[in-house]
Symmetry: C2
DNA sequence: AGAATAGTTCAAGAAAAAATGAACTCGATG
DNA sequence: CATCGAGTTCATTTTTTCTTGAACTATTCT
């Protein structure tokens, strides 16, 4: 179970989609406008709530308010972040399907676009980041039953009851996820 | 809007409840048993998912598997954490109503017990930690509308649409909370 | 094949968050 | 009203997490 982002980032990655970007898009501006900065800020905050690094929020925010797909370099330059952060941030965002790559004619570089549909975003996040934790928790709970066996009887009874609650919680949480997805489905 | 836990901890605190603990409870053991360590570990992990400090998970975990209310000192000693962490951890947990204080006859010290009902726990967490973020987000979004006004028309149209999505998200998220609470109500 | 381009990796440095503990507050006690 | 006990505060230290950038890999171009 990955404990921090860097570890988690060393995971798999989805392949490029076949969607076409706008091949006529000219060279992007060199600077971010106030609106863009503000939108980015919102996503940086959101990232912090979710326990993600600032750079991830920045990248997603930038793509969220960009009218055209952006390249690796553009993202790096506009946000003034390092190659490493750009690479890792994009990787993470692609893993959770918050960002997709699109093919742009006559250009070798990857072009990135934000997934705008809330449902897909949440689904990716829940699938990649929440579910694994819940499943791991379930395992640990099961292992715990064994330890419980050689526990003084008075104590054991109460502990067993409380472990039961934990199981229920875990099950509920997992049952909740599909429901949440349905609810937020636009 | 508090950015880290230490800041947030400098908040209000609910008062002691009138529930009675067991006044006959003898002196607690000096060491934690394997089961207890394991339960605590589960809560430490959970704390990490939620972006809370380890110590908070430890304290809640300890109280979760304790048969009797514990005092400040006992918590500190059993977990081998500092006075400061104990104080702040307990404060946070009381703020979100994950822990309550109970009165124990003839003993001046506070005695702490874990809230075992999932619903109350989640409610506290959502109310104290999630809602404020969502509300703040809504404000920022509203402010953003103004910035949008002096934006080039072609761009403006698309951005307005996307800001609209954000509003919808926010509203949905806030609408989701009561529903989640109902779902997890045992 | 060799050079150039595009992106990845990861050790090391920087920044942020959490833990510590000494000084402090506040109420109870003699 | 001075002292003690119980807990809080917050500047400092420690730990954790994020960012950086140089070295590396893979792919395209000539």
């Amino acid at each position: 179970m990955p404990k921090n982002l860097q570890q988690e980032l060393r995971g798999s990655m989805p392949s490029t989609l076949g969607i076409k970007g706008n091949p006529n898009a000219g060279p992007k501006t060199q600077f971010l406008e106030p609106i863009e900065l503000e939108v980015i800020h919102i996503f940086v905050q959101a990232a912090q709530i979710l326990g993600l690094p600032k750079s991830v929020g920045e990248i997603y925010g930038l793509l969220y308010c960009s009218l055209d797909p952006l390249t690796f370099d553009e993202i790096m330059r506009l946000l003034k972040i390092s190659k490493g952060s750009t690479s890792q941030g994009l990787r993470f965002l692609r893993n959770i399907r918050a960002v997709n790559t699109v093919y742009v004619e006559g250009n070798r570089r990857d072009h990135f676009v934000a997934e705008l549909r809330l449902r897909n975003l949440s689904a990716g996040f829940l699938r990649e980041r929440i579910m694994p934790h819940l499943e791991n928790g379930e395992e640990r709970l099961t292992d715990l039953q064994k330890l419980l066996e050689d526990s003084p009887p008075e104590k054991r009874k109460i502990l067993e009851e409380r472990m039961g609650y934990l199981h229920t919680w875990n099950k509920k949480a997992r049952g909740l996820l599909p429901w949440v997805l349905k609810f937020i489905d636009t």
